[in-house]
């Protein structure tokens, strides 16, 4: 209980070590994505006689996914602005919007995946497809975990209010969410756009 009280008194500026630690974790996550990108770069040409990305990917669908996620990154920023202004209702509102956008992203992405698999282009059908599903699937898994985290954060805001402890957690959540959008920029560019170039 003593610990909780102290954490509740944590000012945003007192937890910079926590934020740095989380940032370093995000950097290791970036390195993991880098290996998945390198693998995709090496294997994207190995289609085992099957269709390449140019034939399989729908660029308008990919653009839709990109704009949805980008908007969710923006609304996440708006949520943090509201949190720093101690506006509980607005914070919850913008995080709910962010969650809805994140879930729509997952919905459309899973639709694309199931369509590919139904047509016989699953991860086991070629090295290109394996590396594609590994890279894009890992990103999607991160988004799903982020969505779960937003749900937990919403509950914390509701029950604990916007004290220093909660804001510290929300800051890390927003770092995570912005990071995932940045990774997606490169997935959009290197996987989807470059397949047609």
């Amino acid at each position: 209980m003593e610990e909780t009280t102290n954490q509740n008194q944590l000012g945003h500026h007192d937890d910079s070590k926590t934020q740095l630690g989380f940032w370093i974790y995000l950097m290791t996550d970036l390195m993991m994505f880098a290996t998945l990108f390198a693998t995709y770069a090496a294997l994207s040409g190995s289609t085992f006689g099957g269709p390449s990305g140019a034939e399989l990917f729908s660029l308008p669908d990919a653009l839709k996914l990109t704009l949805i996620l980008l908007t969710s990154s923006f609304t996440c920023g708006l949520a943090m602005l509201a949190a720093h202004k101690a506006d509980k209702k607005q914070t919850i509102f913008w995080f709910v919007i962010t969650l809805i956008l994140g879930l729509s992203f997952l919905f459309f992405e899973l639709k694309e995946f199931s369509h590919l698999i139904a047509e016989g282009h699953a991860w086991k059908n070629s090295a290109f497809l394996s590396s594609f599903f590994a890279l894009v699937g890992t990103h999607g898994l991160h988004i799903a975990v982020g969505g779960l985290w937003i749900l937990v954060a919403l509950k914390q805001i509701t029950h604990l209010g916007l004290n220093g402890f909660v804001i510290s957690k929300l800051t890390r959540l927003s770092l995570y969410w912005h990071f995932l959008d940045i990774v997606w920029i490169f997935i959009f560019t290197i996987v989807y756009l470059m397949s047609q170039v």
Binding site: I24, A41, L63, L81, H84, T189
Partner: protein, 109 residues
């Protein structure tokens, strides 16, 4: 600290870069590849400054240092992997396709 203006600017710039890259490809511009890569890196910088605010805050030196060192590792990882795999691909092609290797390297029997 972060303001609504900075998030809005970042958002609008990111949309512009995304659409720019998309139309560069769908209109099949000749220099589409450097354009889309350039726009991706520009959007990375925009999002780092306007969304992540890496240049602000008490720990901005540490945050920026860790970010730049990670980007260095990532560059070596990706560029190095592509270099090595291309090199392996070139030298390990099956017999029938090794004609071009023999010609390129000037190997005479």
């Amino acid at each position: 600290m972060s303001t609504f203006k900075s998030y809005l600017t970042g958002f609008l710039l990111s949309i512009a870069f995304t659409l720019g890259a998309y139309f560069a490809v769908t209109n099949q511009l000749n220099s589409a590849l450097p354009i889309i890569l350039g726009l991706a890196f520009l959007q990375l910088v925009v999002q780092i400054f306007f969304f992540l605010h890496v240049h602000k805050g008490a720990d901005r030196i540490w945050n920026s240092t860790v970010l730049i060192s990670t980007l260095g590792v990532v560059f070596i990882l990706i560029a190095g992997s592509i270099w090595i795999m291309t090199h392996l691909n070139y030298h390990m092609t099956p017999m029938q396709m090794q004609e071009h290797v023999i010609k390129d390297e000037g190997i005479h029997k």
